[in-house]
Symmetry: C2
């Protein structure tokens, strides 16, 4: 027992350390030794648990993104109106950032927005999120709760893009990130996308 438990701990320890270091320095400028140092383990141990430096990031992304995909699906299943569904999605993403800003920073900066390197690899999974959101919009159009002249894929990109830009703003301190801002953010994105900027 004592031989298995610490093994799992070390793996987790390395992943958690990687989050911190990637968030601090960015993926490209972190050496594997930085991760090992931060985790308090030997250099070689990283390669015992992971095939490569890339795999560490892939693992972090996969873990988190699958949660997002589930959350979107659940929102779609349980939301009453399409607007509420979008609100749930926005709420989950904002909540993720609030709960673990470092991890979300890594996911967004190094994968989601890094479409040339890791984003490329994970495009199919990322796309799945876009598609699920588009599905919510499409359903809203069918039920007449959303206008029909805006392509669902298009709306999905705008919606997701708006949220991600917001997180990016928080991450790089372009816009203030207080608890109040987090609270408002969810409803504001949804208000912007569903109601629009012009008064009704």
């Amino acid at each position: 027992m004592a031989s298995k438990a610490p093994a799992i701990d070390k793996r987790r320890q390395i992943l958690d350390a990687a989050i911190r270091v990637f968030a601090r320095q960015g993926f490209h400028s972190t050496r594997v030794s930085d991760i090992a140092d931060e985790a308090g383990v030997a250099y070689g141990l990283v390669y015992h648990y992971f095939k490569s430096k890339d795999e560490v990031l892939n693992e972090l992304f996969a873990e988190r993104w699958s949660l997002l995909l589930s959350a979107i699906e659940e929102a779609d299943r349980e939301g009453a109106s399409p607007r509420q569904k979008l609100e749930a999605v926005a709420g989950f993403i904002v909540g993720s950032y609030r709960h673990d800003p470092e991890l979300m920073k890594v996911i967004i900066v190094e994968v989601t927005r890094a479409a040339n390197s890791f984003g490329r690899t994970h495009l199919p999974e990322i796309r799945r999120a876009y598609d699920s959101i588009a599905k919510i919009v499409a359903e809203g159009q069918e039920s007449g709760e959303f206008r029909r002249d805006i392509d669902p894929t298009f709306a999905s990109m705008s919606f997701y893009g708006a949220i991600e830009q917001l997180l990016t703003g928080w991450i790089f301190e372009v816009i203030p990130a207080s608890d109040a801002d987090f609270d408002q953010a969810k409803s504001l994105v949804v208000a912007t996308i569903c109601d629009g900027l012009e008064p009704r």
Copy 2:
């Protein structure tokens, strides 16, 4: 005269080659020798015109971004309604992509969305764009053409984020990029942001 003109040509030649290579392979995985080869000049000449590989990208960004900033200011100056101003901004960005997709890909992927590396360096300039857009929104609110309960900075981020996400979708072929799509895009983003998804 013949001693100065070719000099400028070579510099331009290197920049243009860099756009192609950066767009194809990404900044990190292009060697300086790739740029030189693509430009058909010797390795060392790149360093005659540029201090470093970074400076080549910086130059490309600076050139293009200053055009964007001017375009936003002009839109603000000459647009009749805030909505028309936003339309002009969206139009300029989409037009830039249409006119030179490779350059825009580089700008977005390597700078604007690469907030950890080059985005960091250029944050002040990038921010200036956000601010100018926010100003347009704020003016719209004062004149009563836009609702007042959405923070201008916030709206600006959503607007810009939506457009950039759209371009990113085109760049990585997540969404179709035909001439018709380009034509529609401008009005659709503006419709989404100003009118909202819900019917009026």
